[in-house]
Symmetry: C2
Subunit: 362 residues, 2 copies
């Protein structure tokens, strides 16, 4: 009865009825499903032979910028794994590039952004791009992918969250301790806030444009926010996240997954920030996470990606455990707690998706 | 009354009465103190001018291996900051070196261990050192430091925890995702367990030798254990930690601080593993952490080290907040949630220690 009422109110909240009856979208809205839908962060990636073949011919950024290649690679896991959603092949940093920074990917090093921003002057030099024009290749890739998908599964668009993007803008590269990010946050709070404002505006426009181009769900990746103390999240990050969720044109219509990595100590605040589904990493048991964010949102997760190095029976034990923790309540989307690692044996990934489908069948 | 009874039972549990009446040691045993003791992880380090002067003349490993230099540097923060405890200047990886691995520190890269161990063969090649003989320079440094300290403050000895040491042994360097560590854990659990057994034996002997040499307290650093899911901690790590705490000759006499970094989602298990004081990082509010581990242990922490980049009034606000969260219950030791960052302004560190002393005075 509880579930029925909650499903009904969800249904009424949605301004338009979702035309296709996709399992993944229904689970995002916590409607009853015949089994748990599954997709994997970084499901289009280097662990996959078909991907490697494309990658051997093109640089990573070329693949992001070429709609035909991006669409091709986006479809690979749909065909190879049979996942219940596609996620656009792209990188969160293309948005930062469109804001005016020079972006490179160096083999074995990862992303590098030239002239990192560490003062108000730097913030002033960044611009809020018009996604439809400045990131036209992303919109084109979305349209092309939708065509090629022919309704088989929904397409997820995505963006990095402001804090995660700001950390790259400030550090100029990946980081573990976020020394410059936190220095700017703590010693120049006005400049840090101005940067977050600007990135937030860019994210909102980017996500709205993706939906107009055809994205049927959205995920916001706050990959590095777990480096913050709960109070600092509340003070420096949460208001910007709230602005995003309040500013999405398709709110209540296109589900938004809010993935906050390593944020177990302030999950309640992540929930307050917003999202129809909260994505969690493997450091917190799924049942505890769901209880803490509340059952008015869905939950996505949360197998340790490196558990895919285990033998199949051990993977199965873990899948069962996560499904048990999710229970029979609708609204669970199976995923890893972070992206698929590039060294993962491809057949293990194939087996995982099969397992989730089989073991979760009602 | 509660506090009195608990202090009394602590007192009776200790086989010998601590001869010196050090504030820090009393707080470890949750006895009443006139103010909160404070020391800082990596308090002897590159942020300090006096340290840099020694470092300019010697490599990091030379400083670890030379008892005179190690003692000199260990004393610097006692004199410069007025902290309530000294911690031996050394590195957790010297133990692994004594187990038979070749250790190097490369500028701007960090530690590198040659021929990382990734199979049972590799485990078999490691030996359990006799700390008194194979790490005689550490014992010598402890003796010399005790002499030079002349009872001013107690000296803390330390070791890396088995999981953290194993991660270096397996990865061969610092890591963020622990790809090889987890692969070995999940796909060769017997070899992983054998490695943990061997390291655990080495840690026990090492810590016991440090106490015989004169260490008056111990800290066990589990710096990277936060990459694990709670169930994996329980299965692969906890039994080894329990063996350490059960095997310390001076248990109940020399307090042991168990610092488990980023372990907020399984703090209760960390408590079960053992320790007289649980050290926590800044991602969890101190009051919540203490409530969860229970008031039968002390708590150490937990200012974000990068908060030292903030203006003094903001640092003070944070110090007050942590002291408020600790409340009037005895057993809080003020510390950072991780080591002092090398770029931290030295005067901020000096100011922090002064602040804690002043603001916590009963």
């Amino acid at each position: 009865m509880e579930n029925f009422k909650s499903s009904l109110s969800n249904f009424l909240l949605r301004r338009h009825v979702v035309s296709e009856d996709h399992l993944f979208l229904r689970a995002c809205w916590r409607e009853d499903v015949e089994r748990t839908p599954v997709w994997l962060m970084r499901q289009a990636g280097r662990y996959m032979q078909a991907y490697q073949e494309v990658r051997a011919q093109h640089s990573f950024l070329e693949m992001c910028r070429n709609p035909r290649l991006a669409a091709q690679v986006t479809l690979q896991p749909v065909e190879r794994l049979g996942v219940d959603a596609a996620i656009l092949f792209s990188d969160i940093l293309v948005l930062v590039e469109a804001m005016g920074m020079r972006l490179e990917f160096q083999e074995g090093f990862g992303p590098r952004l030239h002239k990192p921003v560490r003062s108000m002057d730097g913030v002033d030099r960044l611009r809020v791009p018009e996604a439809e024009k400045d990131l036209a290749y992303v919109m084109e890739a979305i349209k092309l992918t939708r065509e090629k998908l022919r309704g088989r599964v929904p397409l997820i668009g995505f963006s990095g969250a402001p804090f995660t993007l700001a950390s790259y803008v400030i550090e100029g590269q990946s980081s573990r301790i976020f020394r410059f990010t936190k220095e700017m946050m703590f010693s120049q709070p006005e400049a840090f806030n101005a940067l977050m404002e600007k990135i937030t505006s860019a994210v909102i426009d980017y996500l709205n444009a993706q939906v107009r181009a055809g994205a049927q769900a959205l995920q916001i990746f706050d990959s590095w926010v777990g480096c913050l103390a709960p109070d600092d999240y509340e003070r420096y990050v949460l208001p910007h996240m709230q602005r995003i969720f309040a500013s999405l044109d398709a709110r209540g219509e296109v589900p938004v997954i809010h993935f906050a990595n390593q944020a177990a100590t302030f999950l309640e605040k992540v929930r307050v920030a917003g999202g129809d589904v909260i994505g969690v990493d493997w450091r917190i048991p799924l049942d505890e996470a769901w209880r803490r964010v509340g059952y008015e949102v869905g939950i996505q997760g949360n197998l340790d990606p490196l558990a895919l190095f285990a033998p199949l029976e051990e993977i199965e034990r873990r899948v069962r455990d996560i499904l048990d923790k999710a229970g029979s309540r609708p609204g669970h989307i199976f995923n890893l707690g972070h992206g698929v690692h590039k060294d993962t044996p491809e057949e293990k990934v194939v087996a995982l998706v099969k397992m989730v489908k089989k073991l979760s069948a009602r």
